[in-house]
């Protein structure tokens, strides 16, 4: 097995400096560092760090938005980063998940059932997943760029449907989307600033409960996707991305795996939508525009498609920067657009790329064949 170890060393050699230094730390250290980082994340709302606080908007709300966007990015990363499918209409799944919770859970929806949150959310995930399969079934046989336009269309169809159908109440929307629980904070939690025992855990005016819930889901989902990535499944996705036909000839049921990627992505999208609108308690067709969907793709790629940490960073920037720099409100998209161009030119591999991609990009760049 010594040759096997050498094979792994070959991989390690290709890693970038920081990353290899990290992975050469003793395991106990790494666990410790990750633990400390998690504690930091959970306590961010109470820490009151001056510079990163958002000026206009409630900081915990922004953190919650970041967490939801990270969840979105993790799901989108499965589709784009791992399976290499370009999904420009991801927001459709987000909407499906959100509306499912609203319609099934709100007393004000046209549908009479009134399920509690904990029942609604699994249904929402399932419905989103189903919509992923329904969309993927006919379209995943198409080649890459065709998929892009078809998914874009899907996103728009969902939005138009939300806007014009009776079950969604159009733009009048549905209020009273259920919150995860009506319970109050237990009294032993009150050591934490912001938490008071007379207050609900999931309160619209103090959203720390939502943030913690979202953060926990993010961690679980990242771990789950990591497991997939490092298994036969992830390898098949990679092979499909590299050369679909060759993968198929090597016995990879490409369609099935692409469909799985789509379904998993859709499920995560649905979950994020459900989560976000549980906190907002009101949903209408606003906020599901294609543009947001496209921004998500940009965030994933800029963060570093294929690397979960990278896409998380991309998502956080997308959620956080506009809130932090509200004074540029009118120009923020302009700045964003320019930033995208600059980023792709100076850091095409993304902020925190996956090892594989950064190597690939480096090699490709060196091979650029043009003679001036």
């Amino acid at each position: 097995m010594s040759s096997l170890r050498r094979a792994d060393e070959g991989r390690a050699r290709a890693m970038t400096g920081l990353r290899s230094r990290w992975s050469s730390l003793p395991r106990a250290w790494r666990i410790g560092a990750i633990g400390a980082f998690m504690v930091l994340l959970y306590s961010l709302p109470g820490l009151n760090i001056p510079l990163i606080k958002t000026p206009d908007t409630d900081f915990t709300s922004v953190l919650f938005l970041c967490a939801v966007y990270v969840l979105v990015a993790v799901g989108l990363n499965v589709v784009i980063g791992l399976a290499g499918l370009l999904d420009l209409g991801y927001i459709g799944f987000y909407a499906v998940g959100a509306y499912t919770v609203a319609i099934l859970g709100s007393p004000n929806s046209p549908v009479v059932v009134k399920f509690p949150w904990i029942v609604c959310v699994p249904i929402a995930i399932a419905v989103a997943m189903l919509s992923g399969v329904l969309l993927g079934w006919p379209t995943l046989r198409l080649r890459g760029d065709y998929l892009a336009i078809v998914t874009l269309g899907f996103g728009e169809i969902i939005r138009v449907f939300a806007l014009n159908s009776n079950i969604t109440n159009g733009n009048r929307g549905i209020n009273g989307v259920p919150v995860p629980s009506e319970a109050n904070w237990p009294s032993w939690m009150t050591w934490f600033p912001y938490v008071s025992s007379e207050k609900q855990i999931f309160s619209v005016s103090n959203v720390i409960g939502f943030y913690w819930l979202a953060l926990t889901l993010v961690v679980l989902c990242i771990l789950g996707v990591r497991r997939l990535e490092r298994s036969r499944v992830g390898r098949s996705w990679l092979a499909i991305r590299e050369d679909e036909e060759a993968a198929e000839v090597m016995g990879v049921p490409t369609f099935k795996y692409k469909l799985w990627a789509f379904a998993i992505g859709a499920a995560l999208g649905g979950l994020s939508g459900a989560l976000f609108f549980s906190k907002q308690t009101f949903i209408n067709a606003q906020g599901f525009d294609l543009f947001t969907s496209i921004l998500w793709v940009a965030a994933v790629v800029i963060g570093g498609a294929g690397n979960q940490l990278g896409v998380a960073v991309g998502a956080i920037l997308l959620a956080y920067l506009p809130e932090r720099f509200r004074e540029f409100a009118d120009y923020r998209l302009l700045i964003f657009g320019v930033a995208l161009i600059v980023m792709t030119i100076f850091r095409p591999q993304g902020l925190l790329p996956s090892r594989r991609r950064s190597v690939e990009l480096e090699d490709r760049a060196k091979e650029a064949s043009v003679v001036e």
């Binding site: 480096e362 090699d363 060196k366 091979e367 064949s369 043009v370 003679v371």
Partner: protein
């Protein structure tokens, strides 16, 4: 000298493919380049035709330094290549592929004349004039690639493994054609795995190993060189 390479170095990312290659091709010659897989033969060809930038060294063509010249301008100067892997335009018909070979030329009458010549050399191409290049079989594409390279009426014709994928009978033919073209006045630089054939037709030849020239001589000399025989001609 029509072509002169001086101390050429070339990198693929981290990999150095050529370690200072120097060679010359005289006007009217057939020069063969032989060597094992990965020796750098195709890389040398790419450097000459300008598909790859060289790291160091110079390329002189017809006395002019073309080291930094764009690939398409080298074609205008008279360098034409049939690339490794054939590079047929898959969506164009056989005829259009051939016309592409004459892209830099304007004289319609001459072009038509050359088209006829290619069709006589490869009757299969005439038969399939309208078929899309991409649907031709491997060997048929090879014929197309060679024919297309001829269409630019080059001063220097670079052929990268023209016999690859051809049936035994055609291999014979293609070498005959190379000699014929050469006699009509085109200088040929030939890369071949089929060293036996290549050396017996070439005026001069170079042997490449891992990016370096390890031997040179006339075709006949190398054909009878025991080391070359051992490594590249196989046991007959």
């Amino acid at each position: 000298m029509l072509l002169e390479l001086k101390d050429l170095t070339l990198l693929y990312g981290r990999i150095q493919a050529l370690h200072g290659i120097s060679l010359t091709v005289g006007e009217g010659e057939i020069v063969a380049l032989i060597g094992a897989n990965g020796a750098g033969k195709s890389t040398t060809m790419r450097a000459i035709s300008g598909l790859r930038a060289v790291a160091q060294g110079t390329i002189l063509f017809d006395g002019e330094d073309i080291t930094k010249l764009r690939a398409d301008l080298r074609v205008v100067r008279g360098v034409s290549q049939s690339p490794e892997g054939r590079g047929v335009f898959p969506g164009m018909s056989v005829r259009e592929n051939l016309e592409m070979g004459a892209y830099t030329r304007r004289n319609r009458a001459e072009i038509d004349e050359d088209l006829d010549r290619v069709f006589t050399l490869f009757p299969r191409l005439k038969e399939r004039e309208k078929q899309a290049g991409g649907t031709m079989s491997g060997g048929e594409q090879q014929m197309l690639a060679v024919g297309r390279a001829l269409m630019s009426r080059p001063k220097l014709l670079l052929l990268d493994e023209p016999s690859m994928g051809l049936a035994p009978m055609l291999i014979q033919q293609i070498f005959d054609i190379i000699v014929e073209i050469n006699q009509q006045g085109t200088t040929v630089l030939l890369v071949e795995q089929n060293a036996q054939q290549a050396l017996s037709r070439a005026h001069r030849a170079y042997v490449l190993e891992t990016g370096r020239i390890v031997k040179e001589g006339t075709g006949q000399e190398l054909l009878h060189d025991p080391a070359v025989k051992d490594a590249y001609l196989g046991v007959a």
